[in-house]
């Protein structure tokens, strides 16, 4: 196995990009990454693209070839592979790209994620296709509804509250003020979250990440090749993917995300470090309850004490375990298939010291990207 480094990172703006097409969005992220790596483009040997549902969002399949073409890589005939795992598609694309380099098959590859959500489909119904359509959605559940059921159970068993969840949203919005690529760069208050309409009780509109347009790109290289491009590479020391039962009803413990636990434990082992070494986190906050459950399942907080982590401020930018300095999915925008890569880009910026006013001092960073209610989880560990 070769050690894998990140030599370039880039992302488009996230949000409702009405004047940009799918192609424009992915190319804007790709050019930024190439420029960052100081590559011309012909050095790229393969491309892995996370994309959840171009077929339904924009009625375009075969997006692997489309992206290779419009990013100028079809002329050098590289393989381009689309990867789908619900809203963990980006994380899984990163894992595939990592394996390609670590195995020695390729020296320089692109890990990308892209989603354009506003042209054709109804975004919330498409998001519901990441749950079990036949046995959850048919019977009236939605993705938000299932997370709401988890929130209700957590509140019932452990005494967390709607205010605790609101605080997570407030924190992420506050962090995003200093992220120029974020969709929402404005602070909100606990009251405004609590006063926003219910989506699925007890979750409200402002507990939910917006479904957005956006793309993010990382360029990975083997360590020896990376040294030719940079003196200060950030290393991707582990990317581990795990799965769980698709339908929440089949998980015996509704608050335990076993895919997250397994992926995180294995990733830390592979990277040869412990959770205490990790100084910055990007955790999948498609809903505020998802972030709170990730505190517990990643191990920042004990089981049943996720709400204490937000109450005590340990997950704030200045806390001992800062979570989502970028603003998270909530304030950056959740460009579904791009999210896993967008999280990784933020960790790379943090470890390089390029995060500006949202900079955290950390040697090691972790990103956790989940699909649906946690049937897929991808944990990545980066080190400088």
């Amino acid at each position: 196995m070769k050690r894998v480094a990140v030599i370039g990172a880039g992302m488009s703006r996230f949000g409702e990009l009405w004047n940009m097409s799918f192609r424009d969005i992915v190319i804007s992220a790709g050019l930024e990454a190439l420029e960052d790596a100081n590559l011309e483009g012909r050095e790229i040997e393969a491309m892995y693209v996370g994309n959840m549902s171009a077929g339904r969002f924009i009625a375009q399949e075969h997006v692997s070839a489309l992206i290779a073409d419009y990013s100028g890589l079809a002329s050098i005939n590289i393989p381009a592979i689309r990867v789908e795992a619900g809203d963990a598609s980006g994380g899984v694309a990163l894992k595939e790209a990592y394996i390609a380099v670590a195995s020695g098959i390729h020296d320089i590859v692109i890990a990308a994620g892209v989603e354009k959500v506003t042209d054709v489909g109804s975004s919330s119904e498409i998001m519901d296709s990441s749950i079990d359509k036949e046995w959850e959605a048919f019977n009236g559940a939605t993705l938000a509804g299932l997370f709401a059921m988890m929130a209700r159970l957590h509140m019932h068993e452990y005494g967390s509250s709607e205010e605790d969840l609101a605080r997570i949203s407030v924190k992420n919005h506050k962090n995003a003020v200093n992220n120029p690529k974020a969709q929402f760069r404005r602070e909100i208050t606990v009251e405004s979250v609590l006063n926003s309409p219910y989506v699925a009780e007890p979750l409200k509109v402002l507990d939910s990440a917006p479904i957005s347009d956006g793309a993010a790109v990382l360029i990975l290289a083997s360590e020896d090749v990376a040294r030719k491009y940079t003196d200060t590479p950030v290393f991707l020391d582990a990317v581990v993917q795990s799965s769980d039962y698709l339908a929440l009803q089949n998980r015996r413990d509704i608050l335990e995300m076993r895919a997250v636990k397994t992926a995180t434990r294995k990733a830390l082992k592979l990277a040869g470090c412990s959770l205490d070494d990790v100084g910055v986190f990007e955790l999948h906050d498609s809903f505020t309850i998802a972030e709170m459950l990730l505190y517990e399942n990643v191990g920042i907080a004990e089981r049943g004490k996720g709400h204490e982590a937000i109450r005590e401020g340990v997950v704030e930018l200045g806390g001992s375990n800062p979570v989502n300095p970028s603003g998270g999915l909530k304030a950056c925008g959740h460009a579904v298939g791009a999210t896993g890569i967008r999280q990784a880009v933020e960790i790379v910026y943090q470890l390089r010291g390029d995060a500006g006013k949202r900079q955290v001092d950390a040697e090691t960073g972790m990103a956790v990207n989940i699909g649906g209610t946690g049937a897929t989880a991808v944990t990545s560990v980066f080190r400088r």
């Binding site: 109804s122 919330s124 119904e125 519901d128 036949e134 046995w135 959850e136 959605a137 048919f138 019977n139 009236g140 559940a141 939605t142 938000a144 509804g145 709401a148 059921m149 988890m150 209700r152 159970l153 019932h156 309409p197 219910y198 989506v199 699925a200 009780e201 007890p202 979750l203 039962y245 339908a247 929440l248 009803q249 089949n250 509704i254």
Partner: protein, 129 residues
């Protein structure tokens, strides 16, 4: 539009699941292999009974287009007394539903495809008092 074969699934109307004779686990919907035992599993159909309790629930306000006439509605995860769990609507006033509420299965309409289209039926729950 839903896949046509879904209407033909008898398990949607009758709470019949499968039990693994190797480890005793009960599953709904039915499975061909036990996810815990895999090749060693021996699956047999079992009646799951119609009574159970609410494990957790929510009230859906942002409803899918296909269910907009029912807005808002309660949906929950029900654990049947036999041990299997089912995600289903609970047709009650949201104020009356609680975690732990006893419920009973009923056969109800879930939706339809347009004005003259196919009507979908399935299992819902009511409070068992």
């Amino acid at each position: 539009m839903l896949p046509r074969f879904w209407r033909k699934i008898k398990y949607r109307y009758n709470l019949v699941g499968t039990k693994c004779e190797n480890c005793g686990s009960i599953y709904y919907p039915p499975r061909n292999i036990c996810p815990e035992c895999r090749r060693k599993s021996r699956m047999v159909e079992v009646e799951l009974g119609e009574r159970g309790r609410v494990v957790t629930y929510t009230v859906i306000h942002d409803v899918p287009e296909s269910s907009k006439l029912m807005k808002p509605y309660v949906v929950g995860i029900v654990e049947l007394d036999s041990g299997a769990r089912v995600t289903a609507q609970i047709v009650e006033d949201p104020e009356r539903v609680e975690i732990g509420s006893r419920v009973r299965a009923v056969f109800r309409k879930y939706g339809e495809e347009g004005e003259d289209g196919i009507i979908y039926y399935g299992t819902k729950f009511v409070l068992d008092e």
